[in-house]
């Protein structure tokens, strides 16, 4: 356990991310966004880097392997580069979000390579002290940059940032893109849906994205025991670094249940996408790839 913690800490110190990551990969999607500003988009590099997490968790566990990995953090950084296809997809999603915001008259800035990590992984692993310290650093950085409002694009970052105020003084407004965009495209087709546990049962955004989906014309195939608010379950992704086998087993079961409803699956979170994709037979799409 301690080795996992030191790995995360060292990586955060060195790379400002929980894994060794080339920050250019995180910021490469944005070309013409203003640097900083009062309102910024906050990606926390989630869509960009999530594709490599399974590779990391494959040789992670709490067995001490991190101690070995620590010595080669920089060589690891090369290893954890997403493929071109994965990067293109992530960049497209983020640009879809920004374009949809612009259509609503919102022109967010971006911190590019200076964008910090939200600390979500620390919070979710229960490393609460480390999370508080991290939140303090991010809060002060945002204050120094004059940021008043952040727009998040994924549930884990949204959850982490909306919880900062429980740990440190934080008065930046945190909104999620789903609260701001509209479904302007008309889509025909049927999907089933895997809800994000955080959006659905912690952050009160489930009805909001369902409203957008329904407005777009997509028909959702649902079953109350599989996709209900209280009956749907997590994809298993958030536990991958602690226990990969458990994470995989949850994902496999979840994908099987969802497959009974459709071979086209909508997700609303980059972790769900990566975790469920290997197990789901058919097409998996992020809502921002489809309706924006």
């Amino acid at each position: 356990m301690e080795s996992l913690r030191s790995f995360l800490k060292e990586s955060l110190d060195k790379y400002d991310m929980p894994f060794p990551v080339d920050k250019k990969v995180c910021s490469g999607w944005a070309k013409d966004l203003p640097h900083g500003g009062e309102t910024i988009i906050f990606t926390s590099c989630m869509y960009q880097i999530e594709p490599v997490v399974p590779t990391l968790s494959k040789f992670s566990s709490m067995t001490g392997i991190f101690t070995g990995a620590l010595k080669g953090l920089s060589s690891l950084a090369k290893l954890v580069k997403p493929s071109k296809e994965e990067i293109d997809r992530a960049y497209k999603i983020l640009n879809n979000v920004v374009n949809a915001l612009r259509r609503r008259g919102i022109n967010p800035g971006y911190l590019y390579e200076d964008e910090p990590y939200s600390g979500a992984l620390l919070l979710e692993a229960g490393l609460l002290e480390d999370f508080a310290n991290h939140a303090r650093r991010v809060a002060s950085m945002l204050r120094d940059r004059g940021v008043k409002r952040v727009i998040t694009v994924d549930p884990h970052t949204h959850n982490a940032l909306t919880r900062y105020a429980e740990f440190v003084p934080f008065d930046v407004e945190v909104v999620n893109y789903l609260q701001l965009v509209d479904a302007e495209k008309k889509i025909e087709g049927e999907f089933t849906i895997h809800d994000s546990c955080l959006y659905s049962r912690f952050l009160d955004l489930r009805d909001r994205y369902r409203e957008l989906i329904s407005k777009s014309g997509i028909k959702l195939n649902e079953d109350f025991l599989v996709t209900g608010r209280e009956t749907s379950t997590c994809c298993g992704g958030p536990i991958a670094l602690i226990n990969r086998d458990l994470s995989e087993s949850i994902a496999e079961k979840r994908a099987q249940e969802l497959n009974k409803l459709s071979n086209k699956l909508l997700v609303v979170c980059p972790i769900c996408y990566i975790t469920l994709s290997p197990h789901f037979r058919g097409e998996v799409k992020d809502i921002a790839e489809v309706i924006l």
């Binding site: 955080l198 109350f224 379950t233 298993g236 949850i250």
Partner: protein
């Protein structure tokens, strides 16, 4: 594979049933809200409610015992039992928590679990996999094999009914000849000293009435302010377990007695001569004073959170320190056994908090326990 089939069937059977019960009897939701308030009141003054309960139990002719930990609980119960040999047990999580059955067996007692699920796991020598359906991990085939091996008298390919009938036949004698009946308690009324037990099999009714000595072993957190609250807990627990109305609600207030001859109170009548209530702390007072953990003590053991949890499902019911499993179990593994590790596996799926009748924010409690696991 057995587990996957068993849990899938359990979810399909039970989850819709609970929703139906709550829709049909909406007053349960109101009772659950009221019960939560009443239980919070107890948790804010747990030690004084324990004292009040002790006085009430004495007033109705029972013998109260307050114990700090498992060892004390085993010692007290052994003393009460003395030389008596034949013991039947109704389902009690706390009896398992303090290691009572094993202890009594090691003392050379003849001990039989009488709840069917508990009976099966006793035969299999396995820990319970769910708090209200302890043998939920067992298929019919496995149960059949166990009963045939231990008791004989089962034809090949026996039906569910035949298995149950064989166990019923075997336990009949045990109930009648038992010298001691040990149960838990779903709720304890501080004002009257009464205990309430909810069940569907009828085994608890037998266990509390047939033997001359009844010992109830329960955690401090089972105390509620008044008898109506205790009845409320029985109704809410049964409804959220999907078994409503419950077949039996047993209320015990002290030993049995009669005043039918010249109105002179004589004990026993047909029920036990002695009633003992063993109240177990095992970390509960400490948890009641800990704002991060207090909520967990509201749990009424309905078992609903388990069936809405992906971790419990994926871990074959083995998440937590027995007898505590699932989301509630990973909280209770820490409270009672001081083990914070199970909490680390919570993925904050969150279904548990949505369906918990006591509105316990389980992922939040587990988040705090996780933090302790790291330190």
């Amino acid at each position: 594979m057995t587990w996957e089939i068993a849990i899938e069937r359990t979810i399909r059977n039970n989850v819709p049933r609970v929703y139906n019960v709550l829709e049909k009897y909406p007053y349960i939701l109101e009772l659950a809200r009221e019960l939560r308030e009443a239980k919070l009141e107890v948790l804010n003054n747990l030690e004084s409610y324990v004292e009040q309960t002790v006085e009430s139990v004495k007033r109705i002719g029972g013998v109260p015992h307050v114990v700090g930990n498992s060892e004390e609980a085993r010692e007290v119960v052994s003393k009460i039992i003395g030389d008596r040999k034949k013991i039947v047990m109704g389902k009690s999580m706390v009896a398992f928590e303090v290691g009572l059955r094993e202890h009594l067996k090691n003392m050379g007692k003849e001990v039989w679990e009488t709840d069917l699920g508990e009976f099966l796991i006793q035969l299999a020598n396995e820990p319970p996999s769910h708090i209200i359906a302890p043998a939920v991990h067992m298929s019919k085939e496995r149960a059949e094999e166990l009963v045939r091996e231990a008791l004989g008298g089962l034809p090949p390919n026996s039906t569910h009914e035949q298995i149950v009938a064989r166990v019923r036949e075997f336990l009949r004698d045990k109930f009648v000849n038992a010298e001691v009946g040990i149960t838990g308690a779903n709720a304890i009324a501080a004002d009257t000293g009464s205990i309430i037990l909810v069940e569907n099999e009828g085994n608890i009714r037998f266990t509390t009435v047939s033997p001359p000595l009844h010992i109830a072993v329960a955690g401090f957190e089972k105390i509620v302010p008044t008898l109506p609250h205790a009845m409320m807990e029985a109704m809410v627990q049964a409804a959220y377990a999907g078994l409503y109305p419950p077949t039996y609600v047993n209320l015990t207030s002290g030993p049995s007695s009669t005043g039918d001859i010249e109105m002179k109170r004589v004990s026993p009548a047909h029920g036990p001569k002695e009633f003992h209530l063993v109240l177990v702390d095992n970390g509960r007072v400490r948890a009641s004073k800990d704002p991060d953990l207090r909520e967990a003590l509201l749990c009424i053991r309905c078992g609903r959170c388990h069936l809405h949890c992906p971790v419990y499902r994926a871990m074959d019911g083995k998440w937590g320190v027995p007898p505590y499993s699932g989301p509630m179990g990973s909280m209770w593994s820490y409270i009672v056994f001081g083990d914070p590790k199970p909490s680390l596996l919570c993925t904050h799926s969150g279904g548990c908090k949505e369906v918990c009748p006591m509105k316990i924010n389980i992922p939040k409690v587990l988040e705090k326990i996780k933090a302790r696991a790291w330190s």
